[in-house]
Symmetry: C2
DNA sequence: CGCGGATGTTTACGCCGTCAACATGATGAT
DNA sequence: ATCATCATGTTGACGGCGTAAACATCCGCG
């Protein structure tokens, strides 16, 4: 119930065990984070299906059932990896989103494009983590309010989806004040933008775009982002 | 290697066994299709992860290893279900796609909208099958040619993706000749359209739109489709 | 009629998630 | 310092999964 820091806690371990001392320490000292790190590696290499509890325990050098002292079960461990992947995605979006800081419509447009490029770039660079970030198993349910607003299921503090969504929302608001998008077209615009980037990312990972070169990909991404922006800007 | 009919063959079974005679017939007579039907039910209820070879065999009333006389393994059975789901999706798109038969730009627009609505409707009505249709396990690799054209990996006859893609391509060509979309914007338009519908479908299934009512969904779908069409129509 | 190949069964192996019972070691009260 | 307590990790076991090998049954063709 208290928010998982999902591997963001102070990492103490060097490789498999905690602080360098004896090998066979009965108590690990940082097992939870160590397991999460191992699970992240598994996810990065093989996607959500590769997040195998026993494999993570093996990687850390600990018995399988030890994980149950720190996670409710496999899907809970998977949930931790999911959260990590979500954070990474947000980071990737923020990194490029803050790149161009101008104020005109052109700058607003650039920010939208960069946000989308960052999203898809993460999906392409870390397909395993991206897939895990959207894996439907042990997910903190997120509902929707009026016109595109998101609401967490329980009173938990904003999860990634909220954060990622906020990022998009801010950029869209930005685009409105910059005169790029008309206020009438604003409500619900998140959905189109999100669906488009999510969709093209999926086509890259699971669909027919999985064998494109970086250059071809870049063309496709820009084309798709251009289209959705044009749609949002139309009269 | 010879094309799987994927449960489209003449169905002989009533419930679990083939033609009504004795219960304990040693030879089933139509095991392959029976297993596929069972697997389809599993997929429809629980998605691709629920397509468990042993469960399908159990449903049919046959030993687990019997399946290996008709499939290379679990992923092969899953592949058959996948193909079925793809056919169902195409059918759903064609059903509504042929609804409006006019010739003007408005009719072309209607057809585009209906095609998208049919796509998303299938995803919402049969989430398990839809997810299975896009499951990345034992997939017949599909590459991409020049500007959005698809090419099968081996010389196999067009799979669903090709057919589904053809449907979209035809409708887009239609939209061009009807004057709805300018020829300059035509190349690559499939990608935007496909990404958008796929993306919004995913948001409905795995994302934050999974709790919407039918009416809200309808609004969201139309909004998203309107946006992508506007994008494709923009100067 | 009889035999061979197709089809289905039994048995078994290793992997998985998970539970119960036990072992170990850190921690705080006496 | 001593020792009970409790968190943490281990062993062993169970059932379910995918799959391979060996065996059983039956259909169809000579």
């Amino acid at each position: 119930m208290e928010a998982n820091s999902a591997a963001t806690g102070r990492a103490a371990a060097g490789e498999t065990r905690a602080s360098g001392g004896k090998e066979g320490r009965y108590h690990h000292g940082d097992l939870r984070n160590a397991l999460i790190r191992a699970a992240i590696e598994l996810a990065a290499e093989g996607g959500p299906d590769a997040v195998v509890l026993r494999a993570a325990a093996r990687k850390v050098g600990v018995s399988a059932t030890a994980a149950y002292r720190h996670f409710e079960g496999q899907s809970d461990l998977l949930g931790a990896v999911k959260e990590y992947g979500q954070q990474r995605l947000v980071a990737c979006m923020e990194a490029v989103g803050r790149a161009s800081e101008g104020v005109g419509p052109q700058a607003a447009r650039d920010r939208m494009m960069e946000l989308g490029r960052g999203y898809v770039r993460f999906a392409r660079e870390e397909p395993g983590l991206y897939r895990t970030a959207f894996c439907r198993k042990a997910l903190g349910a997120v509902g929707i309010t009026e016109e595109g607003g998101l609401a967490d299921a329980e009173g938990e503090q904003p999860g990634w989806e909220t954060r990622s969504f906020e990022l998009l929302t801010e950029t869209l608001d930005d685009a409105v004040t910059a005169g790029l998008i008309t206020p009438e077209r604003r409500p619900g615009a998140e959905l189109s933008a999100w669906a488009m980037v999510h969709g093209v990312a999926m086509l890259f990972l699971d669909g027919p775009l999985d064998t494109l070169t970086d250059e071809e990909s870049s063309y496709v991404i820009d084309r798709v982002l251009t289209d959705v922006l044009a749609g949002l800007m139309s009269p």
